[in-house]
Amino acid sequence: MTSFAYMLAALFAMIPAPFLFKAPMRVPLRGAAIAIVLLVDEVFVWLVSSPEYPHYELLPFQMLALMLCVSTLFLGRRRRLYASLATVLWLWIDFFGMLSLSYRGVPFQWLPFAVLPLAFLPIFFMHPYKKESRFFLAVIWAAAWILSFVFEL
Amino acid sequence: MKISRASFLKLLTGTFAALSLFGCRREKSLPKNEHREVSSKPDLSLWQKEIDEARFATPRPESLVMVPRPGIHPKFPDADVRLGMAIDLDLCDSCGKCALACMVENNVPRVNADEARKGRYMHWLELRGGMPVMCAHCGDAPCEKVCPTGAAVASPDGFSSMVYPRCIGTRFCGANCPLHARKFNYTDAAEQGLAAKFNPEVPLRPQGVMEKCSLCIQRLQNARIQAKTFGLEWRGSGVLPACAAACPKHAIIFGNWLDLNSDLVRKTRGRGIYAPKSIAKFLPAVVYLRGKA
């Protein structure tokens, strides 16, 4: 998988983020919408990546986590709670995914775990609706995304 | 009946005193010997017959890939012993004498007809498509990683050992072994008269534990003990596992991969070293030889 495809994946993942939680939606419809986003991510990964890439199995879910993280920037209320939950979800996917991969001989990658927890600084210590904290969060998530690819090579 | 507080206290104290006195009794008669009577002079042809049967159950040989020469065990970088074997497939004519020798040396039980139908043979050394396959004693062994109790554990001598009393039969190790070299004691073979104590040195395994090729650990231990009793250092010489000793073509070579003068290292020089594809990346110590390097 090339770095370009990887960056493309991030952009592709972020497309639905502003719209997904904008409109009020019924629970089944929203569930279906998120699932369809995930399905599209899966198709995207299937097209641009290959199973030789060690994180291939994880990639659609990492994309989903990134999407959910970014989408919290557009929430009107309870942003603090959902931003932290989305970041934890990302950590969760990465940690347990890499843990199971490490048993298969893929080296465990520490960098996302060094970067992602930094997201809690703006979430908890800055005003959640201010521009700066939103910017910080976006930078941290982007850095986590990039670093988890760069240090894999 | 109503008990006043004072009498209750007295009762309690009395009980404690009695129990404490009972606790001072600190001797015990010997436990019963639970050693089951098993025949030590059984009919070997029964074992031979089962080996021939099991050949049909595993008609396909393992696919082999070339691997580098086994070296230091990753968990014991300072050790100077890494015991292992090389099986010369150019010499092997799959006579099956190794399989029989293995069963006799290690008291490997036979299985009953029902178990045989389900393919639950206990053979530590199997003939898969005529090729002798046993535990490869991986350095980075998948079985050792998942054993919850530490019954499957690496030995500093570079092989993978199995501590039966610690095993509780989760069978995770067997599930995780890509080579399927581990065998589970589904039944109590001694109870059914299918086990025999050919070798008094080796315990019979109870029902519910895993077992596998131990590289004839009893022979290794005895050789080491003998050498150390007389004050000598032991680096894997002067001993052969049962299969290697039984091979009429000397196709099974045993030795220490880290001892450059051992038979194993000398005879594998310039040969093509192969390992089963499924476990090739786990640094096996038991490898196959074929052709030139």
Partner: protein, 550 residues
Amino acid sequence: MNRNFLIFGLVLLLPSLFAVDSALSIGPASWALSQESFWGTPIADFVFWIGLAHAGTLFSAILLVLGVRWQHRVAFLAELSTIAALGVAASFPLIHLGIPEAFYNMIPVGNARSMYVNVESPLVWDFVAIFVYGTVSVLYLLLHLFSIRNASLEKYRRPFAWILFPLVLWVHTIVSLDFAVTFVPGWQGAYFPLYFIFGALFSGVALVQILVELSHRRVRAVEDLLIAFSWALLAFWMWEANVKAVWHPELLIFGFLVPQLLWISKVREISVVRALVAISVMASLWWERIGLVQPENLDWTWVDLGLASFGIGAFCVAFALLRILLKKFFPQAFDEDVMESLRERVVSFERKKFWISVGVGTFAAGAFAVYFIWNAPAFPGVRMIPVLFPIGALCAGISLSLFAIAELWKTRVAVMCAVLLAVFAVAVGGLLYRGTDVSYTESLTTVESVNPALGTSKQATAELWNARCAACHGKDGNLNRKFVHEFYPLPQTLSLERLDSLGLDSLSKVVLEGRNYMRPFRGRVTDAEAFALVRYMRSLAVQKKGGAVP
């Protein structure tokens, strides 16, 4: 409802006890396994039931954390089903074990034999996580029950939910890692943690849907969740089909297409259809676990089916009994009006005590890590983390419960509870530390007369001489005067000259055949050993004379 549940459960449970008995007495041989596929239906049933147990936590803890206003009645129903399902789930791994009575070897405490569990193994994580999940769930249920009676406890529920919420996800993540870390091709998957969590929640929601239908009620939100989760599972199944190239159309039909019926409002109004949809979901998820654990079909025996029936039967009986029992002690929980009024209660958050408990939990997990790194030979690094969180959660949950007890009764009661708990923990830990007396059945050997075959090397012969001959002839070749003087007429000294004049061959014959007072040693030493002994005797004589040892 309770009576019907009990009858239905007993009908399934009683016959299936034969299967359990057979599984325990015959062992793993009684169900479908082979020497290559070592895990069978008990594991699939375990994963299924532990998944169902997640429903209660979802409906009471997770939704509480996420701030969703929810019916206490449904939450309570789900919590009870969690306890019942957890009990059922925990019994399956024990049945699965080859030696069930030795399960305690998985408990991660030290013992006098310096044997530590392998914290790298997912099964240890599993064992700890399920134990903790069970304990904390029971504590949470009790808290819920007491808070109905006593509104002052309400402020502990959300802190407790914050402990339970990650724990429940952690538990199923660990169950998924049982498979994900292996080298079995069908079990590998880095995405398994999320996949298993969603599968578990899906089946749990389906279970709650059935329970709600059976109590003749209607909760639209549960039906909505069912549809939402069916879409999530579709995404996972598609990804699994892509990664592993396996295709399970039956899962897509019964697990995905059938729940979509609920979109049609006319169909959705029929109670039977709603129940059947939930049953179809549960069945397809059970089948999915079976297909995961045993990718290739083995011949099932009656025990396989019996154990599946045991699961359902035991769940129904446990659920009904729990309800009957609780109705006696907590009648308010079954009172419609009381439960309805709870919905309006303001739920505050006991911040200080929550953070103290989190601190206790963190300290406990840290202490465990240090203890293990200190004692166990190889520190497995990051692979230890999965076991740390449940340990921390257990301690945090217990400490929060103690705070709640102090609030409910008195501080003194809470302190005494803590002391009692500590004593109990120390007693159990001590027993585990000490270990059992004889842990192995085929254990003892009878020793008779044996010849230690040492060989005929110089050192071996010296040892043989010391053992066999030195009693009379002395270790150095001089007579053992203590013994010989007292009991025998003194023989001639064995000088070098005398030995040489007799010759080694005839001397070794003396060893074997005996002479005068010396008894024959044939049978106790071999011919070669006899000859080696004679040579050794000569070397001793040479030494005695002051000469060099040849």
